[in-house]
Amino acid sequence: MNTNSNVYTVVYTALVVVVVAAILSFTAMKLGPLQNANAKAETLRQMMSAAGVKPTDELYATRNQDILRLYAENIEQAYTIGLDGAQNGTLGTDGGRIELVDRLKPQDKAIKEGGQATLPVYVFKGGICVIPVYGVGLWGPVWGYIAFQPDGKTIAGAYFDHESETPGLGAKIKDEAWFREKFAGRQVAFGSEPLFNLSKNAETGGAANAVDAITGATMTSKGLNDALNVWFKAYEKHFTDNAKAEEE
């Protein structure tokens, strides 16, 4: 058979592409549930690390199914709010519906450009309230989970992650425990500007809403600072309304 004729070439390539596509769709379908379970467990680990449910190392050594159980045991309520601060949906408390990192990107856009947003709020035992933040680092997305004390302005804990920041520099936001631990006890200045200040020598002034940026990771720190401020702004109404409601 002439393997160089036009007809043969076209039919052959078409056949190869169809077969490969079939194989890939089949694996994607089969492995999809496992991958989603991994992504979900990862998100739950990061949220519970921020909320201080267990030390981070322990959470990462825990298997997926135990993470789900741990979450169900410790969560009190989970819901979504709009940009006006009012609740506009529930997420359930079985870990079945949480907002994964992939879903934060469109939210980030909605916050910045104005529009419909469904911002997740997770309330853990003891009134610890966890919210996500999402932004752009040097090489790719950076995100994190910030846990608030019941007063709605003091940070109880934080966890940060990134897709591809430089190891040894920007990647420190995730790798170095001392960085995220610095956030505990800081207060977000809801009602004034800036809400939070992550920059060079920020701690020198002794402000409650300041954390020093990481040396050598200027762009990552700046991206994280933007992420914090953009998302805190989006949640501002929710937290200030809650604080008012408690005073009355």
């Binding site: 393997t3 160089n4 043969y8 070439t9 052959y12 390539t13 190869v16 592409v17 490969v20 194989i23 890939l24 694996t27 994607a28 492995l31 496992l34 991958q35 991994n38 992504a39 990862e42 990462y60 298997r63 997926n64 790719g140 897709e163 591809s164 430089t166 190891p167 040894g168």
Partner: protein
């Protein structure tokens, strides 16, 4: 084992090592060698991709239309890379490592070793020798990756496979973590390799 088959397996690991002799696959060997765990997973992934793509392309070698052979090879390699990525993402233990390796798993497709071996070997040889050639080239690549990662993790983080080896007082060397040091280290390995194997030196 006959001599030719032995040569097929040993040559890519020693005299014809894809990284230190052919200087292929440098990009990923700089990027994924910060920690041993990542390097090991990357090495296994590349071994699987080179071996199986060579096998498939060798099976198809007599039917592939010559004019579109590169495209067909590319489709096969891309399929293998996506499969490896999907499997890593699905495994509970490998999920975190896949996240850490991020784009570099996907970039195996651009690794010259894979396409190079298909083009140079698999298209002209029977399936079993092609499989072995692919696997051996992957091993040759992986071996260098592990060596580089060993030094970078040891002196950059003071750990090996995440376990602390150097005393807690050791201050991690930041230069070791950054990609340029991998290149320096790679240079040293090539130097050592050439000093050891006189055949590699130019007259």
């Amino acid at each position: 084992m006959d001599k030719k088959l032995k040569e097929t397996i040993l040559n890519p690991i020693l005299k014809g090592n894809p990284i230190t002799v052919l200087i292929l696959g440098i990009c990923s060997s700089l990027a994924v060698t910060v920690q041993l765990k990542g390097a090991l997973v990357m090495a296994i992934s590349v071994i699987a991709v080179t071996g199986l793509s060579s096998l498939i392309c060798s099976l198809l070698r007599n039917s592939i239309p010559n004019r579109v052979r590169i495209i067909v090879q590319l489709v096969v390699v891309a399929m293998m890379v996506i499969l490896v990525d999907q499997i890593l993402k699905a495994g509970e233990g490998t999920y975190a490592i896949d996240k850490q390796l991020s784009v570099y798993i996907g970039l195996i497709i651009t690794n010259c070793i894979v396409m190079g071996r298909i083009e140079a070997f698999a298209l002209g040889n029977k399936p079993i020798p092609s499989l072995l050639d692919g696997l051996a080239n992957g091993v040759g690549y992986g071996l260098i990756l592990i060596i580089v990662a060993f030094f970078r993790e040891l002196f950059g983080s003071g750990t090996l496979f995440g376990l602390r080896v150097l005393p807690a007082g050791y201050i991690p060397n930041n230069l070791v973590i950054l990609p340029p040091f991998a290149l320096i280290l790679l240079g040293c390995i090539i130097w050592a390799h050439r000093a050891f194997d006189k055949d590699l030196q130019e007259k």
